[in-house]
Symmetry: C2
Amino acid sequence: MTDTTTPVPEPTPAPEPTPVPEPVEGRVTFNADGLVPAIIQQHDTGEVLMLGWMDAEALRRTLTEGRVTFWSRSRQEYWRKGDTSGHAQYVKGARLDCDGDTLLIAVEQIGAACHTGDRTCFDADDLTPVVGQVEGVP
Amino acid sequence: MTDTTTPVPEPTPAPEPTPVPEPVEGRVTFNADGLVPAIIQQHDTGEVLMLGWMDAEALRRTLTEGRVTFWSRSRQEYWRKGDTSGHAQYVKGARLDCDGDTLLIAVEQIGAACHTGDRTCFDADDLTPVVGQVEGVP
């Protein structure tokens, strides 16, 4: 037998969960409960649909799965929007604000964003404020 | 002398601070710090400009004065947007969400909404998420 040996291939590492893209880690400031507010906006019309809350794992899922996942403060569980209602939110963009403590997620909203059946969570309750007039403009 | 007396006019009551319009009181759910998040949106373009926080007094001022006032968590003081920067926010509408714990304020934004000089606080930091494809749509 000759002494020629076949190189042993490197073992294939086990797949790891998709991490939050590196630049995001450490840049998001979560509140004392470990949450950050996420404004959800319809990507083409600009409608503000709702505000939800995300912990680091919900944010990781939202940035990597193409679907919006929240942390439900009332149910204390992850909540991938649309899994029970069918009213999914498909991710079209995600931005972090200047303080790193608020997210703006652009989505394609299927059906109603609000659990009441309204298109947005802001449809029902107009606070009828005093309207401000820009100074110097008649 | 006759007994004809001039009626004493009722004393003029001292002016009271303008209250939050009655239907709003008791409907807003403030967090443990007494604050509620307010999404600020340019009324005509739909741009989401920033998210700020209001206590009951900041909300009262915002709904009655035609200008947006926040509670600054970092400075622990009221902050009427634009008083130092000139970049005022004139109120065009105000809505409360279905849970009563988030505000959506439509404004006419003068100049930059962000303290960095950007038009919005979400201009600088794109998180480049994986974009979701709506199922059944090529």
